[in-house]
């Protein structure tokens, strides 16, 4: 991939998407560079097979390209991107007729990208991820988008087709449940 110049580096997602719609071939490459790892993490939360997660990230950007004529420059790019990604993941899981499967026991530690966390950090992270995965799906979805993917409640709500207030309520209940479970485990 060609190295982006400084102007592209500082360009907003929306500006890059506008450039892609206008036909700039480097703009999508820059967006891909920005969001590949983030989307891969989001996919890997529910998909144990690495290639499937990577394929879905590719498909997400393919859909972004196909839907470029419908992109509204007045709206934020990130929730639009995540909406496409989450819908593709949902469709994929539904087509396979199975529930999300993710190894949470660190059994693939030899395949992790550096840097490796300390054993204590890794254990804490594993416990929190397990607690998140045990949440009801609606609460889990909001928490993953808001906490792990750093979307605002408004953006998470857009992705999930709910109101921002509903997203906040779900997140609040989910965080309460998480805290209770983790406290119970600690005690």
């Amino acid at each position: 991939m060609a190295a982006p110049d400084d102007a592209e580096d500082s360009a907003s997602d929306e500006a890059l998407m506008r450039a892609h719609v206008a036909g700039d071939p480097r703009a999508l490459a820059r967006l891909f560079e920005r969001y590949f790892d983030r989307l891969l993490r989001a996919m890997q939360r529910d998909l144990a097979i690495v290639e499937e997660a990577r394929d879905l990230v590719q498909q997400t950007f393919l859909q972004v390209h196909r839907a470029r004529a419908d992109y509204d420059p007045a709206l934020r790019f990130r929730p639009w991107l995540y909406t496409i990604a989450l819908n593709l993941k949902r469709e994929h899981l539904r087509a396979r007729g199975r529930r999300p499967t993710v190894p949470l026991d660190g059994s693939q530690a030899d395949q992790l990208q550096a840097p490796e966390p300390s054993p204590e950090q890794a254990d804490t992270a594993r416990v929190v991820r397990e607690a998140i995965s045990s949440l009801p799906p609606d609460q889990r979805a909001v928490i993953e988008l808001h906490w792990l993917d750093d979307l605002s409640f408004g953006e998470a709500a857009l992705c999930l087709g709910i109101t921002a207030n509903a997203a906040k309520v779900r997140a609040h209940r989910g965080y309460e449940r998480l805290r209770t479970r983790l406290k119970r485990r600690d005690s």
Binding site: F32, F36, R45, E51, L62, Q63, A69, G161
Partner: protein, 245 residues
């Protein structure tokens, strides 16, 4: 906020042993570029049209036979003076067809599956058949089998076009069933205008069944295609899914 009390878990990326980190990123980008290159073809160009344009194309193709037939025979004038039930059935058809097209071709977003449309797609042709049975005979009747075959043939092009220009990779069977069912209803409406028979048995078997059979048939084919093309691990899904969309 509760999350302040929680430590954000690290989410290390898992990679295959032979293709890690940056290499995986580069490989994915190259594959995506190949897909983007394929999008330059005419099918890709059609998929890249605005949603409203694509919906108009499919809706136009679905409704054109009925409109042309009506203009030619002036039979809709007859319908306009028909019973209220007939007007309701046609209005229901238009609403259901528009909603199904928007649902099937629209942007990917949560909640695109509309189960109530499935009910409409089954109800509308039956209601239409009952309503048109009240209009009486004005032209030469045809056999129910001939009407059914013609209707199925008329319903196919718009469904094919819709599947070709749909952007979402894997279509749910409900969306396919709705789209095909409603295209079938449109075809049966054309037959209602063209065909003289107002016998209830003929209208149900030769006309109303078109929408239902088209919906069920396309849904079954779509389901079979989705099951048969489930991509194995290690192979890109993108090519497989592009063929289906």
């Amino acid at each position: 906020m509760p999350q302040r009390c929680l430590q954000k878990p690290s989410e290390p990326l898992r990679h295959t042993s032979h293709m890690e980190g940056r290499a995986a990123h580069e490989a994915s980008w190259r594959q995506l570029q190949q897909e983007l290159e394929r999008e330059r073809r005419w099918v890709g160009r059609l998929r890249g049209l605005r949603t409203r344009t694509r919906v108009s194309l499919v809706a136009g193709l679905a409704l054109a036979p009925a409109v042309l037939m009506a203009l030619r025979h002036g039979a809709w004038l007859e319908l306009a003076h028909g019973p209220e039930l007939a007007h309701g059935a046609v209005a229901g058809l238009i609403v259901a067809l528009t909603a199904a097209l928007l649902s099937s071709l629209g942007e990917p977003r949560r909640g695109t599956r509309r189960a109530w449309l499935a009910g409409l797609s089954a109800f509308v042709p039956l209601a239409g058949a009952l309503a048109l049975a009240e209009l009486g005979e004005t032209h030469e009747p045809a056999s129910a089998a001939a009407c059914f075959g013609l209707g199925i043939a008329l319903a196919a092009p718009s469904v094919l076009l819709a599947l070709i220009i749909s952007r979402t990779p894997v279509r749910g069977w409900t969306e396919v069933a709705l789209l095909a069912g409603l295209s079938g209803i449109s075809a049966s409406l054309m037959l209602d205008v063209h065909c003289a028979s107002r016998q209830l048995v003929h209208l149900v078997l030769g006309h109303a069944l078109i929408g239902i059979c088209a919906g069920v048939g396309w849904a079954a084919a779509s389901q079979a295609a989705a099951t048969g093309s489930a991509a194995p691990s290690g192979k890109s899904n993108t090519n497989t899914i592009s063929k289906m969309s």
